[in-house]
Amino acid sequence: MDFRLTEDQRALRRGVRDLLDGRFDREALRAAVDSGGALDRDLWRELGAAGFFALRVPEEEGGVGLGLPEAVLVFEEAGRVLLPGPLVATHLAAGTVPGAAEGDVVVTAVAEGLVPWLDEADVVLGDASGAVPVRSVDPLTPLHRVPGDGGATGRDGGAAGPASGPADALGEAVLLTAAEQVGSAGRTTDMAVSHARGREQFGQAIGGFQAIKHLCAGMLVRTELARAAVRAASLTVDPVEIAGAKLLADEAATANARDCLQVHGGMGFTWEADVHLHLKRAWVRAELRLPAARAEEAVAAGL
């Protein structure tokens, strides 16, 4: 047993981080916000060229040939920088929807009665007929609402009980979304710590006050708990473990963004600070794939 990342996995993570730091830095993030939710097709193709979508397509089919544990690391990095777009749906469509793997085609999917990025997508999986636009809480995730039940899957997950056998594409979508949440939770922890070290009040860095320190420590604990759960689930591919990982990752992302906002004080409440972008995206990811109530039911059913 060795739960640590392998040398290759560390290199992969480093490579993705470097790529995203270069191609989607803070300036690009704010430009994307200002653009009002248009998808950057050049960036999408660059992600495709880097293997972001073809990561798990077998090598003989032109993919990178890696597995779910590697995909989880890559999506953690995407969540860290708030990379926009229907990343999970396009990644999962690579190999089946032509052009998805290369980043030429943008694929979205109906999930929980919502469709993200409907106007920008080339292919929509699921029935989006009659979808109406929503004033999305997240400036970087345009949303449509599908009328009626709208493809909400397994609403009564508790009664259905946990699926047996390895997770299907739905489970993978849940897990990759959870990985993005972990990345965001780690990033807001870093942001809070960095602010707490630099900001001075009462003649000292506020990070020296236990009231602030303990908030930050709690953020790290939530992140580590969720990260361990997500990585383990990527290895076991057990549906109950995936549901548990999503639950903890949602909690880590949303609660950490709120604590990060609190540590930033008044600045945290401004549009200018990035904190709100993490919180809003975390809310979207929490709702879009296996929301908390059903995740809890799914784990309970495994008892």
Partner: protein, 377 residues
């Protein structure tokens, strides 16, 4: 990332399981929890069986993964826990193994492994709890002995211990971390008085120990004079790192029992309670993964567990208290009956966010040592 075990580790597991299946039915009945001499005899008897089977030093010599497997399988099989041997096997023993002389290791370690001698821990004082380094029990050199006077508190197993790992102040003039020395004190030395303390659970888990001019031979000192703080830190990080592995397994089993009880008594139909149990189950599954991550790290670095243990303990102690609150919700009015399972454990669990470093101290450790926030108030 790999959660699988090597062939060698699986063989270790299989051999252990076979042994447990054979050995456990022959154990004597569990003693009355209030009868300390009987508990000591029971715990030491179990340790002797481990010794005879070659598992006695699993906490020290086995690889971290083997230790994890040992703790997992013994808990799953319902085997006894270390009990009265906790300090000897998990605190004093590892300290002596790491910092003692050859002679000290030869004198003190074999009796711990055989279950012949029990140790207790004399660290905390009425005025030195979270701020342990401010301890004031004095030790003055007099020829070949230290003369020790002062008071210790929260000393588990003091009533039945043979030895005490004792922290004393040898240089009151030095900065507080630099004037402390680690001594091994025989509990039957004249001047040692033990007064049991009753916990809110009604039992005498620990005691106050009064020391009145107790003569401890200088040869019982582990490490240099005034270097006791460093020597001690080895044990404390050990405690936070692996001491709770078996308990996570136990908590997961308890969750299963809770779900069964809830399905029987109808409380499972309450979605709020059901979801609460689901959330706890997710947390304990994740805690187990954190244990595996910490063990992997320890295995790779060969070092003792570090601040990662604080991350674990912070969430574990909280989650375990929540687990017993959920158990009380499942039991309803029966939660008030101390004759029912889980209710005494609910009371005991109230110490988890205090013992072995309060949650507040753990958060300071995480914030300062992992996140790099400044020391301060």
């Amino acid at each position: 990332m790999d959660l699988g075990c090597t062939d060698e580790e699986e063989e270790f597991r299989a051999r252990l399981k076979t042994w447990l299946t054979r050995e456990l039915p022959g154990l004597p009945p569990r003693p009355d929890p209030l009868d300390w001499p009987a508990r000591r005899a029971y715990d030491c008897g179990w340790q002797r069986r481990l010794y005879d089977a070659g598992y006695a030093d699993v906490h020290w010599d086995a690889s971290p993964t083997q230790r994890l497997i040992f703790l997992e399988e013994t808990e799953l099989a319902g085997a006894p826990y270390v009990g009265a041997n906790f300090v000897g096997l998990l605190h004093a023993g590892p300290t002596i193994a790491a910092e003692g002389t050859d002679g000290q290791r030869a004198r003190w370690l074999p009796p711990v492994l055989r279950g012949d001698e029990v140790w207790c821990q004399g660290f905390s004082e009425p005025g030195a709890g979270s701020d342990l380094a401010s301890l004031r029990t004095r030790a003055e050199r007099d020829g070949d002995a230290y003369v020790v006077s002062g008071q210790k508190i929260w000393t588990s197993h003091a009533e039945v211990a043979d030895w005490c790992e004792l922290l004393v102040r040898t240089d009151p003039g030095a900065p507080k971390h630099r004037g402390i020395t680690w001594l091994a004190m025989p509990m039957d030395t004249p001047g040692v008085t033990v007064r049991p303390l009753r916990t809110l659970a009604g039992s005498t888990e620990f005691a106050e120990v009064f020391l009145d001019e107790v003569r401890v031979p200088v040869e019982n000192r582990v490490g240099e004079e005034n270097d006791g703080w460093r020597v001690t830190m080895v044990t404390l990080s050990f405690e936070r790192g692996t001491a709770f592995v078996g308990e996570v397994v136990a908590c997961r089993r308890l969750l299963g029992e809770l779900a069964r009880t809830a399905r029987k008594n109808g409380t499972w139909d309450d979605p709020v309670l059901r979801r609460r149990l689901g959330r706890l189950s997710a947390e304990f599954r994740a805690l187990w993964r954190i244990v595996q991550a910490n063990v992997s790290e320890a295995q790779a670095t060969g070092g003792v567990p570090g601040a990662g243990g604080s991350v674990f303990k912070l969430h574990y102690s909280h989650a375990r208290q929540e687990l017993y609150e959920a158990a009380a919700a499942v039991l309803g009015p029966d939660a008030l009956d101390l004759g029912r399972d889980w209710n005494l454990d609910r009371l005991s669990s109230l110490s988890y966010t205090i013992a072995a470093g309060t949650s507040q101290i753990q958060r300071n450790i995480v914030a300062e040592r992992i996140l790099g926030l400044p020391k301060g108030r």
